[in-house]
Every structure is written in C-alpha cells, then in structure tokens.
Symmetry: C2
Subunit: 401 residues, 2 copies
C-alpha cells in the first residue's frame, strides 16, 4: 500500500534480472524493498524463526480479541515498535492485522461504508495519489464505495472517505486531509512514516492508521500489514471483512513479523550506545546515499528536477534529518514523453498519469538492488547528457515532444 | 471454504474452551480442524520449518509464472500430492495460490465475470450450500456477480457461475453440476475431496478446482489454498484479483505448506510397507471413529437421523471405504427448534437455514478437540433420551415445536 503495489501488466510484473548486462531491462516500476536484505542477513540467527509441524493449526489466535486471528505476540511487537519510534499512538487502539496494508484498505472501505445507504460513499485522495487506490476501489464494481479521484477537486455533498498518504506515494510529501467537510472519514496510509524515509516529528493520532511490514523492514513477501483503529465498531467491521474475504491472515507471517519487529525495537533502544547501526540507522543511510546519488545526477540536467524537502527535527534520532523518499518523483519540462524516453533506455518507471498527475512526472522506485540502481544512474546520466545537448537556445529535439 | 468459515457473530467466534466443565459451551459451529494436531506432533522435526531473517523478502516468487507470487516449491508439492492421492488432474494446469480457498473463490468470481456486461453474472449453488458463498458474493455489493441462491430452482437466461462443492458442505454428498445450461461456468470447491473424508474414486478434471491446506492436513492457521485452472486467461485474472486485493500470499505459509505436503506425499508412497500410519490413514481412522460414535448415539433416537452414504472403492487406499464427512448434517422430524434445543444444552451448531435448507437440519462440526466431541456426544445422548421420552404415541412435548 502506499506504494507496495506491482504493475498490472505482464511486462511490469517482471522484476529486474539478478545479473545485469547493458541490455538488461531495469524495472523501477515497483517498490520491492529487497535492498534492506543485507541488514537482516547480518543479524544472523537473531531473527530466525522455527515453526514445528503441529504449530499454528487453528483459525483462532485470541478469541477474546475483536481481531480474533491476530497473534498476541504480533500485537505486542507492533505496540512496542511504535512506542520506540514514536510515530503513532497505540494506547487504547484496536489492532487489526491484514494480508498487507492493501487488504486493510479494502477492509477500511467496507467498514466505513454503509450497506443501507442509497448511494455509494465517495472515495478520494489528493493527487498525485497512489495508483493502487483507484484499482482497489473500482475492480469489483462495489455498490458500497466509488472512486471519485482527486480530493483537491472533490465537492460533492454527503459522506466520503479520504485516504491521506503521508509521506505520500508517489512524491514523498507530508500530508494532511484536504477535503475537510462534515461527513468525511479519514484513512491514513502511513506505510512510509518510518525514520529511514522521513523525520518522525510527532506520534500521529488518527482514527484509522495503516502500516505495513513491507516498507517498515523490507519484508514484503510476508504480506503483513496492521491498522491502528480508534473505534471498536470500525475494528469489528474491518475484522469481518478479513473473515469473509480470507478467514484471517497467515499465522506464520504474523509470528515472523513479531520476531523481526521485536529484534528491531530492541536494537533501537540501545542505538545511542552500541557500536553497530540499528535497522533505521542502516536503512536511513542506504536511502540517503541513494537520494544523494540521484540528486547528483539530476542536478546536471536542464530539464529534469526532483522535489525538495526541508530538513526537520526527528524525535527518533534526536537530529535534524532529511527526507529520503521511497520513490523519486521526477519532473521534466513540458513535452517529454517519459514512457518512450525511459523505454528507449530499457528503464521501466510509472507515468504520472497513473497517479492522477501530469505525464511530465514519472515515479521511479528507489528500492531496486544496488546493481540495478547504479545502472539506472548511468543510463539517466546518458539521457541527461543527450537531452541537455538537444536543448539549444530553447529548441528541443524530437525526443522532447 | 466449503466449510472453512467461521461464524459471523461474536458468540460464534469463540472456539470451545480448552478445559471443559459441565457448564462449558461447546462450539461446533466452525470447522476448525485442530483434531489432526497429534499426527503432526508425532512427525517431530520432519515438518519443522526454519526461516532466516533475510529470507523471502521480495514480493516476487517466480516472475516467469502467471501466478508470480507462487513459491515454486509449493507448486511442485501440490502437483506431487495430487499425483500420489489421485484426486485431481494437474498436468497442463495453472496453479494459483490464495489466502485460503476463500480468497480463491472471490478470485474466481472476479475472473469469470465480465466488467463490460450489462448485468452481473448469477452465482448459484445447489442447496444445502456452504453458507459462506452467499456472504462472499453479497458483502461488497459487487456489480460483477449476484447471489441467486439454490441452483435447483435457477432458471434465468444468460451467464451464470455454479459452485459445485464435492463432497458437499454441509451434508457430505458427492455432487455434480445441476444447472447445465449453455452459458454456465463451473467452480469446483474440493476442500473435502481427500481420502480421510471420502473414497477417492477418480482424478477430477474440471476447469477450476479449489483445494485448501486447512482441510487437507488441518493447517487452517496458515491460510493456504490453491486453484487448479485449465484456462490461462482465467488463471491470469485470478492472479490479478490477488494482486489488487492483497499483492500475493504469505511466502512463509507457502514454504511451510510445501514442506508439510511434501512430507505427507512421501509418507503416502510408502504406506503399504511401513509399520506406521500415513497421514490419510491416521485422519481417516479418527474421522471414522467419530462418525461411528455419533451414529451409535443417533441410532437410539426416534426423531433424529444422519445421512447415509454407500461404501465406494477408493483408488488411493485400494479398498472399499466409507465416507466420513467433516460435518454431521443432523435431521430431525418436523418441529424441532434446533437452535434453542442445542443452546439449552450449551452446544452451538449452525441451523440448516444458513445453508438454504430447512431448519429441521443442523450442521455440527466433526473437527472439535476430543474432549469437546465426547462432551457433545454425552449431551446429545441426554437430548435423545429426553426427546424419546417426550415422543409418546405421536404426542410431542413443548421442546418439540
């Protein structure tokens, strides 16, 4: 969620090959966060999970909990991590676990809509918005909710749901709700509100907040997300969605997430004294290095640019830090056909149009394996040299159309 | 699926307590197959799964496969098991993995419906049908498909989808499609087509066949199901459903299922020579013992009865075997109020009405822990003694209303 999606076409589903040649296609369409693997490798047996053949057989985890399929260890680990990081209030909140935060957004739409309403509830998000929301809202042609696109231009009367993605996918901005009308309900997609991506300025305290293991630690394959939910009835209906659509969430993944989040929290509590980096220091460094490398390449361009973010004080690190978005939101002067330009150089990005924005934007994943990222920088340098050469006294060549 | 569901109300979500007293409520509403745990415990380390902290981080499992999030080991284990058991043709089939077969039914509805159609496709199943199908078809008020109830009475023109559950949940019967009109598409829910529940008479060879790890081995908590799909485009659309609704399926659960199904297959290949039981021999024995105990109790009743199934030749065991349904489908003479009768004796079953059938039927799970099952038999004996006493010369007391 908020960027954990994959492309919908066959071609975009192919990740970058593992051994690269100058002819290789580099897929930067998806946000597959495998770049954090080396950290977890270094942790050795600390994060190893052992599951016996007779473990975890029941549908139930804790029948006293509204979310009866939530493993208590995972609930504890989630609360512990938020406490250590300081990014969200968990006291008195219900935790609903999902098959990724993707399933939880579907659950939130179900929980916040009304089967007895005469019209579907409107769903909006401020453009540029995560491309997956539209797909999720529309693919089953539900009569409960209806995608209405950009929140900036939404002016219908009646109930609506606004998804607030902060930091935003695709552009990394910190966001608040924009519609602010009486009958609105808000879902905060906080997939990237972790210290490696953005300064943690305060613990957020909204009615429904979605997080995902994928973007917190990089464990996308586990498909674990969680919602912190203030209202009991909303938590109950979200749980009901999970029950009807998949009867709960993998217990193996839940146990593994509990273990890894626990190790992560513990590492963070000692980070000011220990010699070794904790996970967020490590991942922040990796993301910062990538952002700086990309900025160094793009600054040479006469027509391309990246968003700029002010430094802010991060309560978690106790320092002023930069934002290191998970995606680069590349802007070009009018007239660049990003799609064909990138394809010509065997790079797959995602056009701004998919995000309800202008095609002069393209989203590039910053999560690719190191070799792919370096090859991308090389190719982008070549593109920039080429386009700079073509921009002569305001005249632009055929590549710019 | 086909019975892997849980009740929708809070009360029905509470499983039977682990330590039982005469006052304990026995929940036989759900089909939580924990009764097979002792077998897997006995297998010791053979089925133990060890996952390192840096394993399985990517969204992708095999980008060359239509179902790009299917772990190849699981695909191989599924094919191997069907080969050994002989219950389904896998050659040339696409495998789509799901978060339980529940999610796969949702995926099949999406794949078999048409977003460009002017009307939703009708969904039917022959009564008594699994109560979850209606919930799944209706809860999002999709414009793609519409629940039309009992297939026996369906006579609309146009496209339809019939779910064929065989052996059937709730009543254990072997089934074929009943509508048989031109524009029909069939989804076979084969959750219980395994040797412990029914004789395996031949390998089934239908367009879409759904299976679930939950009911095959008892590992319900893993939430793993699979579809064997003939048509490439249907497999692609089912995969798309998974992508949009949850971006794939837990890799930890997939690896564990691969391991356990592999051990199961291997055990079966040696079962005629080894001293120890293979899993299907074990689980068949447990289910048979339960069926026989229940039959022994019910045969004393003047008003209750159970369905009868003929023996059939099971290709897997090489013997004529009985059916041992996962649920008892208890029938009573007219006028019994099952709900209040069972509640009075602190037993939770599921009324026939939920299955599109008469309230003179009730479904009772045969999967409960041994103590709960024995206590159920005791209480049922008491009910039978009581109701027998009340049936005097055709007169029936107030309990029979």
């Amino acid at each position: 969620m908020g960027g954990s999606e994959n492309g919908a076409t066959d071609n975009q589903n192919k990740p970058t090959e593992t051994s690269l040649s100058p002819d290789s296609i580099i897929n930067l369409d998806q946000g597959d966060p495998t770049l954090f693997e080396p950290y977890w490798k270094k942790m050795g047996d600390k994060c190893t999970l052992v599951i016996g053949g007779c473990d975890l057989m029941s549908y139930f985890s804790d029948s006293s909990n509204i979310c009866w399929f939530l493993q208590p260890q995972l609930g504890d680990a989630i609360k512990g991590l938020h406490r250590v990081v300081g990014n969200a209030v968990t006291d008195g909140r219900h935790i609903v676990v999902g098959t990724g935060s993707t399933q939880l957004l579907m659950a939130a739409l179900y929980a916040l809509s009304s089967p007895s309403a005469s019209h579907p509830v409107s769903l909006v998000a401020a453009a540029p918005y995560y491309s997956g929301y539209k797909d999720q809202a529309e693919f089953l042609r539900s009569g409960l909710y209806k995608w209405e696109g950009d929140a900036h231009t939404f002016d219908k009367d009646g109930p609506y749901i606004e998804v607030v993605t902060s930091p935003n996918n695709p552009d990394g901005t910190i966001r608040e709700a924009v519609v602010n009308l009486g009958e609105g309900k808000l879902v905060y997609d906080l997939a990237y509100y972790w210290p490696q991506y953005t300064p943690i300025t305060h613990p957020l305290d909204h009615d429904i907040m979605l997080f995902t293991f994928s973007k917190c630690t990089g464990h996308a394959g586990s498909r674990i997300g969680w919602a912190l939910v203030k209202d009991k009835e909303v938590a109950r209906k979200m749980t009901e969605y999970m029950q009807i659509s998949s009867i709960g969430v993998s217990k193996e993944s839940q146990l593994r997430a509990a273990k890894i989040l626990g190790v992560l929290s513990e590492g963070c509590q000692h980070f000011r004294t220990a010699d070794s980096e904790n996970f967020f220091e490590y991942s922040h460094r990796i993301m910062r290095e990538r952002r700086e490398s990309l900025q160094n390449v793009v600054k040479n361009s006469k027509i391309f640019s990246l968003p700029k973010f002010p430094q802010d004080y991060c309560n978690f690190t106790g320092k002023y830090t930069d934002s290191n978005p998970a995606f680069a939101w590349l802007h070009s002067k009018e007239g660049i056909d990003w799609e064909s330009l990138l394809r010509e150089h065997k790079i797959i990005g995602r056009s701004g149009e998919r995000f309800g924005a202008d095609p002069k934007y393209v989203r590039i994943s910053m999560f690719s394996p190191p070799e792919a990222f370096n090859l991308f920088l090389e190719r982008l340098s070549a593109i920039i040299d080429n386009t700079n050469g073509n921009v002569v006294g305001g005249e632009e060549s055929s590549i710019i159309k």
